[in-house]
Amino acid sequence: MTEHDHDHEEGSPLAETALRVRALESLLADKGLVDPATLDALIDTYETKIGPRNGATVVARAWSDPAYKARLLADATSAIAELGYIGRQGEDMVALENTPKVHNMVVCTLCSCYPWPVLGLPPVWYKSAPYRSRAVIDPRGVLRELGVELADDVEVRVWDSTAELRYLVLPERPAGTEGWSEEGLARIVTRDSMIGVATIPSQTGKPAGGAG
């Protein structure tokens, strides 16, 4: 591992990796195989346009509109497309409803498949060896570490994304949100709750951000 001995110091292999990527980009651009402006557009898309706020909008709509929720659970691809979220790494979607008796969580043990159109690019922990190895054999232990304590009578379902299907967890709507607008609800939906490694706590105040 002479070239990849990570110690995260200045002038370290990470800096070597940066040089390596720069050299490759330069070479591919010189050959006309990639357009650097295209790279900028791709990066901008996933840094500023596509992220977990999309998924939060889907969840808030499902909490607010029973007919939408029914469509989401029956055909998530179409229901999510209704809100405009389609495309790469979300071509075929499945929604999983968490209830007081069933807790769903999502992993990709073989690589790091993740529903990009609704959640954006995956976080480091989701791609990490600890999560990929442990989610299927010790889901309750992983959840406990992350602050989710499940009663013994709750069934845990772990979904391993081994095919081109992408999973979105519909978390339980917390108490104290009766009468909230979709915008107010969307603000409390977290990325991790839509992967199934977090729950959303009961709300005691008014929705954040004004009108709610």
Partner: protein, 225 residues
């Protein structure tokens, strides 16, 4: 292949640590490696299953010692060489962080993704699902056994379910079969099912009697129980 990437059920990898307010990328090179991989993929010289297979070729110690976008970079370099888009000597220079002063011309006729086409390209809704009228071998509720296959090539059948009994939860329809598609041996369209494996079937009597793992598997991965 029984590679290090097939991590389900391994021990000793440490705790899961969630970074608060994590940025989408941590380094500028991650941005570029991500975008280079996507943009090069749009050249149409390989498919997503070939991309996964290329990353799986990373030596195990190196795979564990590097991060996600380094896996991507490794896979991209490998595909560029395999598909004869970039000579190995030029890639070696890049790996050492050096420029290539007079790169050999690449073959003509390749279609390069341009900025005005990015949005449309990313919103493409057709990927792995097929229209082929292939009949299903199983239906929801059927008992199945995951085959004990150990191919040296790419497979989406994880080791931890091989030889284990499960129940078909749902039929997702017809999809490309990655195990052949990655090897350039065709789409071999067939049904994909979510198969429910009881935690105790996978991990023994110490596991919860209620819990289960759902794995998406293809007809060729399964046989009747």
């Amino acid at each position: 292949m029984n590679g290090i990437h097939d991590m389900g059920g391994m021990h000793g990898m440490g705790p899961v640590e969630i970074e608060r307010n994590e940025p989408v990328f941590h380094h500028e090179w991650e941005r570029r490696a991500f975008a280079l991989t996507l943009a090069a993929g749009f050249l149409g010289q390989w498919n997503i299953d070939m991309s996964r297979l290329a990353r799986e070729q990373m030596p195990p110690a190196e795979y564990l010692g590097t991060t996600y976008y380094e896996h991507w970079l490794f896979g991209l370099e490998r595909l560029l060489e395999e598909k004869v888009l970039v000579p190995g000597a030029e890639l070696d220079a890049c790996r050492r962080g050096r420029g290539v002063s007079q790169p050999v011309p690449t073959r003509p006729g390749l279609r390069v993704l341009r900025p005005p086409d990015v949005e449309r390209a990313l919103r493409n809704r057709r990927a792995a699902r097929c229209d082929d009228p292939v009949p299903p071998k199983f239906k929801a509720g059927d008992g199945v056994v995951a085959r004990n296959l150990n191919p040296v090539g790419h497979t989406r059948l994880p080791r931890y379910v091989r030889g284990r009994r499960g129940v078909v939860d749902r039929d997702h329809g017809v999809f490309i079969f990655p195990d052949t598609h990655a090897a350039g041996l065709g789409r071999k369209p067939q049904h994909v099912y979510s198969v429910r494996f009881a935690a105790r079937e996978l991990w023994g009597p110490e596991a919860s009697s209620r819990d289960a793992v759902y794995v998406d598997l293809w007809d060729d991965h399964l046989e009747p129980a």
